[in-house]
């Protein structure tokens, strides 16, 4: 299979067009999957109800119907809004999401951009969404939006740190920033000389895994970290003035980002596209790689959304204290211990 594909050898513009097309299809699809499976179904089950039932089989098309509804809505822009900034903000947020998908490997070769600085790039572009959120908050000319935007800014910057620091532990252990390299390191690792199952970094970096998930939760501004969009006090935070398709863009970006972050967590801590007992150079990864990655992403997403549906909202000061007084010191200690052990063994 590799030979067949290698003999195709598409031109640069051709491969770029294919990659763009794949990303354009992938991002809304994954957001839809997460929205339907978790937001509609799993959340309903956890609240002892069935969820949507009428649209499509078992109500599975409900989110598509909602999407169609959003597209029909009037595109409202406040009179005193900064029109350019207001219109650009959802696109900036969506762009940060799209860029996250670029480095996510679904197998050795199924990756849009196999960057040497893979995970570093992911963390860098994920923080672009802060700018979009601040633009939305400022451009709306609404005090609730501004409050929400500033809260989101403070929160996203505060939780960027533990996220980066949690990743550093993995990077130290793998010895590379490349996403495929990290997967290889886990596949070829061994636990006390027992190498059949490899060494998924969740075993050694479980502290990092929990810190990463907590930080992801905060980056997504999901409950329990949803102070920026707290509807009971800020109406909808930076999303207040957005309607129709622009709101849909924010919604899409949130769930697509959740999928991308779950993918990064799955790659860093659960071995990504790698399946135990199958050599990483095997051709079968063209098929089972994406399936394995998708399965692992759904597991991680389940944890993310499970937490979302369970806990009540943090208070603003508790939220900041949790990042600065708990997550960051713990992740620093984690890095220290990882580095010492890395040198010792």
């Amino acid at each position: 299979m590799t030979h067949v594909l290698a003999s195709l050898d598409p031109a640069y513009w051709q491969s770029t067009a294919i990659k763009l097309l794949v990303a354009a299809i992938l991002v809304p699809t994954t957001a839809l999957i997460l929205g339907i499976v978790f937001l509609f179904k799993v959340m309903s089950w956890m609240q002892s109800r069935k969820g949507p039932q009428e649209a499509g089989p078992r109500g599975l098309l409900q989110l598509l119907a909602d999407g169609a509804k959003f597209v029909q809505k009037e595109d409202l822009i406040p009179d005193r809004a900064d029109r350019f900034v207001f219109k650009a903000a959802p696109l900036v947020v969506l762009m940060s999401t799209l860029l996250l998908y670029a480095i996510l490997p679904a197998s050795q070769h199924l990756v849009i951009a196999d960057l040497d600085v893979g995970i570093f790039f992911a963390l860098a572009v994920s923080s672009l969404s802060v700018i979009g959120v601040l633009m939305a908050g400022w451009g709306s000319a609404n005090k609730y939006s501004l409050m929400g935007g500033l809260r989101a800014g403070g929160q996203l910057i505060a939780y960027e740190l533990p996220m980066v620091l949690a990743v550093v532990g993995v990077v130290i252990q793998a010895g590379t920033l490349n996403m495929n390299g990290i997967v290889e390191a886990q596949a070829n690792g061994s636990i006390f000389g027992f190498s059949a199952l490899g060494n998924p970094f969740i075993l050694t970096q479980f502290v990092g895994f929990f810190i990463f998930l907590a930080a992801v939760q905060a980056e997504l501004t999901q409950p329990p970290f949803d102070m920026p969009v707290a509807e009971s006090e800020l109406v909808g935070g930076y999303q207040v003035e957005y309607s129709g398709f622009r709101f849909l863009t924010f919604f899409l970006a949130e769930f697509a980002t959740a999928f991308a972050f779950a993918g990064i967590a799955a790659t860093l801590f659960l071995g990504g596209w790698w399946v135990p007992f199958i050599n990483t150079n095997s051709d079968s990864y063209w098929l089972i790689g994406p399936i394995a990655l998708f399965t692992k992403i759904m597991i991680v997403s389940f944890i993310i959304f499970w937490v979302r549906f369970t806990y009540p909202r943090f208070r603003e000061d508790q939220l900041q204290a949790f990042a600065w007084k708990w997550l960051i010191p713990i992740s620093l200690v984690n890095i220290l211990i990882t580095a010492v052990l890395k040198v010792a063994f």
Binding site: V42, S44, W45, M46, Q47, S48, R49, K50, Q53, W306, V307, F309, T310, Y311
Partner: protein, 173 residues
Amino acid sequence: MPDFPGKGLFKGLGVTFGEMVKTLKPDSMGGGPVTVDYPHVKEAPTPRARGVIALHEENCTACMLCSRECPDWCIYIEAHKYLAPPRREGGKPRQKNALDRFDIDFSLCMYCGICVEVCPFEALFWSPEYEYSESHISQLLHDKSRLGEWMETVPAFEAYEAGAEQKVKKVPS
């Protein structure tokens, strides 16, 4: 299970997960959601549920008490007087009120039940009927014939619980 910091967090996760498992279990194993598929399956409301107000027209004397007590003035009554035959031979004909109009605007009604309570002649009743939505707000103004239809859904009088305040019947039946 020994105590450790953050135990409550895991307990919370356990509650939501347990609820999910319970919802997904088939009915035969005591699972299933607490909700029902509303338009297909209906729950029976409790007998004294405050669904809609029904009118027993024969008892109404158009005394206007309900209309005047109504906090949002949603009851409209019009009546005319007529002479009824005397009760005893050779007596004077009695003057009575006949209802021309008795409308309740359910777009205004807030279901406080004061009208039912103040009615001295047992003409107004609570009915557990709840499916009377309309596609336009003006169609929620229901007249006496519609209110009369709901009398059929009014449950039979149930004995009060021990110690409950007894309602004294004001008209001999």
